[in-house]
């Protein structure tokens, strides 16, 4: 289903305009995600990061513009075309969004039950493997999400997002609500998984440490546009006042110093 001419561009967002409650949140947004990279989307509050993510995930419609994922135009895709794309991506939501009535193992096994024809033993083995890969102990598998701590819920949700071995992984604020140590471990986990499984990762984040540690490129959103896409080193030198404020604040400076 991937057309040969854009195999390396997994996501292409072009001229997207979105009006939310009378405000143009996106006013000609352009963004390209290349296969195999970890791209972070950053920006101040209200700059439309989450809205952009939701539009790419087809949870929300944009007013105009084009969004292509795996070469498929999502804004006009039929249900079946969309399903093909949906099978190839995994999403980690900010609040984990684990199904509260299912155990962790059942949560992780859910996409396998829905989209594959594997037998139950294989499904359970694969799901358990992903739970372990996400850094959870096997004993967590039979627990319900409510019985886990926030960090463990994130890991369980990551296991669910990865269970179909997607090529593309979306992470919405993966380290928010985690203590610095767990956040660091989570960053490392994501980087490791990306390296071994060859994933493409798009993450929305506020965590400047994550930007320095795991991201190949960073897209800075502001004024309804993507102001700049570059490596974090170059972005932190950028002269745009909005970007400068983001990176030159006390927290940005500390994160930078730690990485030098």
């Amino acid at each position: 289903m991937t057309t040969p001419d854009n195999t390396d561009n997994i996501i292409v967002v072009k001229d997207v305009r979105t009006n939310l409650g009378g405000v143009w949140v996106h006013d000609g947004m352009n963004l390209t995600v290349i296969r195999g990279e970890i791209l972070a989307i950053v920006g101040g509050s209200g700059s439309g990061k989450t809205t952009l993510l939701r539009e790419i995930l087809m949870l929300q419609k944009c007013n105009s513009g084009s969004i292509k994922v795996f070469g498929e135009e999502l804004t006009t895709a039929t249900h079946l075309q969309l399903l093909e794309v949906q099978k190839q991506w995994g999403v980690l939501f900010q609040q984990s969004a684990l199904f509260s009535s299912l155990t962790v193992l059942e949560n992780v096994a859910f996409p396998l039950h829905e989209h594959t024809h594997l037998d139950d033993n294989t499904i359970n083995d694969l799901a358990l493997l992903k739970i372990l890969l996400a850094g959870l102990p096997a004993s967590a598998a039979t627990k319900y999400p409510a019985e886990l701590s926030g960090g463990m819920q994130k890991r369980a949700a990551l296991a669910r997002a990865m269970v179909m071995d997607p090529e593309l992984l979306f992470l919405d604020e993966p380290t928010s609500g985690l203590d610095p140590e767990s956040a660091g471990a989570f960053d490392e986990l994501i980087a490791n998984l990306q390296a071994t499984m060859g994933l493409t990762i798009v993450m929305v984040t506020h965590d400047i440490d994550s930007l320095w540690h795991v991201c190949n490129r960073v897209a800075f959103l502001g004024e309804g546009k993507v102001l700049c896409v570059d490596t974090v080193e170059k972005l932190s030198q950028n002269e745009n006042p909005l970007i400068k404020k983001f990176f030159q604040g006390p927290r940005g400076r500390i994160a930078k110093r730690m990485n030098e």
Binding site: T122, K130, A195
Partner: protein
């Protein structure tokens, strides 16, 4: 062997070489498993050639490593040849995790006696919780009486509006139809005795004393009790209740007492409203079916139905209101953890409220008859 499907593995028994081909990904796992099962269990030293694998994900790596493990007898060993670096890394990662993998712990299902015991204890515990909830509400009410400053007048009015005023149309329609049905069924019997006018006695007594308040309470339990539970339960999950507590505003004064008080005021009024429409429905039916003129109906109504009947009916309404309100709020505050729990507690709230309404009604009937009322 004829191959009607894709070939993923090729095994050369003489050279002991397993060649892996094509895409080792999750959607191909069922076919892969079948093909691997056809290969005789490897012995001795075999070489696995991965040069022709075009794509491998963790499920594929898992399957390969599982197959290689399955062949382990005493002198079995394998060599991985020509795998790409990424595939090797993936295999190593899977290998590492598989070593740590223990079978999923299967939770033990408790025996029959144990389950009965647990259920009993849970019921007792819930009853105990309800008692302390009632106690908490009483203490809070007493506190509010001493410090009327933190009484929420607006919240009470809001509750009366949503639970009372907005329920007027549905309650009117429902009671009107109940009046029609009673009149119709009893009218058939009365007509055969020629006692048409006695419909007024029967209808007046049954609607004012029983059906009006009872049906209103059941309707409100379904409409308002469930809403109370769901609202409070969702607030509990969002930690809004905890937030209130930390701000020095008790949930009782802002959420619980206004709801109880609002319903306490609204339900008797709704019952009165239901009485009016129930009798009206009966009157319409009496006119159509039994030929009782509305003027005769009203004249006889005033004559045969004592005020006591209306008062007994309306007197039950505040009790019903307390049942619906306290059960609705109590179950809402018991929600914990998950969205699932909101559903369970809401169901429980409605079922328990209706159950206790009917129990209370039965107790009223017995008590009042003992008192010759």
């Amino acid at each position: 062997m004829k191959k009607s499907y894709k070939e993923f593995v090729r095994y050369d028994a003489a050279a002991k070489v397993l060649v892996c081909l094509d895409e080792w990904i999750i959607v191909n796992i069922p076919v892969l498993e079948k093909e691997l099962a056809l290969i005789p269990k490897p012995r001795g030293e075999i070489t696995v050639n991965g040069a022709a694998i075009s794509k491998m994900d963790s499920a594929g790596a898992w399957l390969l490593s599982k197959w290689l493990k399955s062949g382990s007898d005493s002198n079995f060993s394998f060599k991985l040849k020509d795998f790409s670096e990424q595939h090797l890394k993936l295999l190593a990662l899977i290998e590492e995790e598989k070593a740590a993998q223990t079978p999923v712990p299967i939770p033990k299902r408790p025996g029959m006696v144990q389950r009965i015991g647990k259920f009993t204890m849970d019921q007792l515990e819930e009853f105990n919780d309800f008692l302390s909830f009632t106690g908490m509400l009483t203490m809070e009410t007493l506190r509010l009486i001493r410090h009327p400053g933190s009484f929420r007048f607006a919240a009470v009015v809001n509750i009366i509006d949503t639970t009372g005023f907005r329920a007027l149309p549905i309650i009117a329609l429902l009671s009107f139809m109940i009046g029609v049905v009673i009149s119709f069924q009893m009218g058939n019997q009365l007509k055969s005795y020629g006692a048409n006018l006695f419909i007024v006695d029967l209808l007046g007594l049954s609607v004012l004393r029983e059906f009006g308040p009872l049906l209103t309470a059941i309707m409100v339990a379904g409409r308002t009790g469930s809403a109370f539970t769901a609202q409070l339960g969702t607030m509990k999950i969002n930690e809004e209740i905890d937030a209130l507590n930390t701000m020095g505003v008790t949930p009782a004064e802002l959420l619980l007492i206004p709801r109880l008080l609002g319903l306490f005021i609204a339900l008797p009024l709704l019952s009165m409203w239901a009485d009016i429409f129930g009798v009206l429905g009966g009157m319409v039916m009496a006119h159509n079916m039994l030929g009782v003129m509305p003027s005769d109906f009203i004249a006889r109504f005033a004559h045969v139905i004592p005020l006591k009947t209306l008062l007994i009916g309306l007197g039950k309404a505040p009790i019903f209101a307390m049942l619906i309100g306290s059960i609705g709020c109590f179950e809402g505050m018991r929600v914990g953890g998950s969205a699932d729990s909101v559903g369970t507690q809401t169901t429980r709230s409605v079922v328990l409220a209706i159950f206790f309404i009917i129990v209370a009604d039965a107790m009223f009937s017995v008590l009042l008859s003992k008192m010759n009322l």
